[in-house]
Amino acid sequence: MGDISKLNNFKKILEKGPIILLIVSVLNEFDFNYLNLKYFSFNFPFILIYYWSLKRSGSLGYGLIFLSGLFNDSVTGLPIGVSSLAYLLICGFSAYLRNITLRPSVIKDWFFFGFTILVVNSLIYLIISLIFNVQLNYYSILVNILFTFLFYIIFSGVFHYYQKLIFGGQSV
């Protein structure tokens, strides 16, 4: 009996996996910069939010995504609200794709993700540089977009496996 309840608790923790990953990824220094790979960076929260909003929107609450954006801005030193806006727009784009999709395809999702991060990053760049007069490295953003796009396909595979393992066929 005790073992079953322990297993249930463990499953409940695993079901919160996307939330835990989101909080950890916005708060920690997950960047591999100590490897001294010039310009290498990717935006893990973008991939996470897009995938889970698209495939299982109930896993990540919009309120939580908004809050995690505020925390991300505090940590990175960007104007408060910028990351929240980016994250929420990604949610909007993925919700739109979910609404218009009849037969899901990984490749279509991937390319739409590329389009989404291009639009969102451009908007954020405009807000930061034009409204807040903060200079950003244009090439770093471009490389960041490219790697985020490339890594999506890998992480979507991992998340797909995780989703099947933990949630089975449920799609809420």
């Binding site: 220094e29 910069n33 309120g63 925390f71 408060i80 909007g92 739109y96 770093s140």
Partner: protein, 282 residues
């Protein structure tokens, strides 16, 4: 045509306006709230400042805790890499030490002479107050180069204070909360510092690049800036005292840019000195 436009509008409306299953807030409402925060932040609205300060207090501490595993991996990786370089480095350091010791005698004499000459012309003297801080968060975002230290307004940190690693300038304080503060590193794109370049005593502005180096801007005669020339703070603007070493010049022949390589390694910052310089007549 009309039907496809209707479908698009319906899909957009459904995505942004409809409150979905298991969602407590509508997406559009949250986007409006975010815009509101951004606008009020732009106009320095007081409640938003308090929100920012509280968020930072929580975020910096949480980041420090959450980053412990990755910091451990990072430290292990760096120490393993350094371990393999120890023998070669030791040989080089011994040679360097001999050279530096001989230089030291000269500089002691020059310092004394400088003091005497300053008192002759009755120049003001800089008095420093110094706070040692530990680097809590070193989030090397590709967009902004900054670190967070565990010293805030309760320890006497104020905006604009200079930050040093050993005796080298690394940045200035740009944000202060009660227990922490953010330091904008010299390598950040938004960092601009007036500098003196020795030996030719050329005044210029050092700007960050968002990378690991800086750039010399607005110099009339570039040919005077030779490789290995030393960059010091000029003291112009009164924020930093003059003569704090920053880095070395290295010309880039390909794009004719004058790079500055900092003496301090910004990726290895552990403890920093936060100082302020008040001018006081001698």
């Amino acid at each position: 045509m009309q039907a496809s436009r209707d479908d698009f509008v319906i899909a957009i409306r459904s995505a942004f306006l409809k409150k979905e299953n298991k969602q407590k807030f509508s997406l559009l409402a949250l986007i409006f709230l975010t815009f509101l925060i951004l606008i009020t932040e732009k106009f320095n609205f007081k409640p938003i400042d308090y929100l920012k300060i509280s968020l930072r207090e929580v975020a910096y501490r949480s980041t420090f805790i959450v980053s412990i595993p990755e910091n451990f991996i990072k430290k292990t990786y760096v120490s393993a890499k350094n371990h393999f370089k120890v023998y070669e480095e030791n040989k080089q350091l011994k040679e360097k030490l001999e050279l530096e010791t001989s230089k030291n005698y000269n500089s002691e004499y020059i310092l004394e002479e400088n003091k005497r000459l300053r008192s002759t012309i009755e120049e003001t003297n800089n008095q420093t107050s110094e706070i040692i801080g530990k680097v809590l968060v070193d989030k090397k975002s590709p967009f902004l180069r900054s670190v967070i230290v565990n010293r805030g307004s309760r320890d006497g940190v104020i905006l604009g204070m200079a930050v040093l690693d050993k005796s080298y300038l690394i940045g200035k304080v740009v944000e202060v909360t009660f227990t922490t503060s953010r330091i904008l590193l010299l390598s950040d794109l938004n960092s601009k510092v007036p500098v003196d370049i020795m030996p030719n005593n050329i005044q210029s502005i050092l700007s960050g690049t968002g990378d690991y180096n800086g750039l010399i801007q607005y110099t009339r005669d570039k040919s005077l800036l030779e490789d290995d020339a030393i960059v010091f703070t000029s003291g112009a603007g009164g924020l930093f005292k003059s003569g704090i070493p920053i880095g070395k010049i290295k010309n880039d022949p390909i794009n004719s840019k004058i790079n500055v390589y900092f003496f301090s390694d910004f990726s290895q910052l552990r403890y920093v000195k936060i100082t302020s310089y008040k001018e006081e007549a001698e």
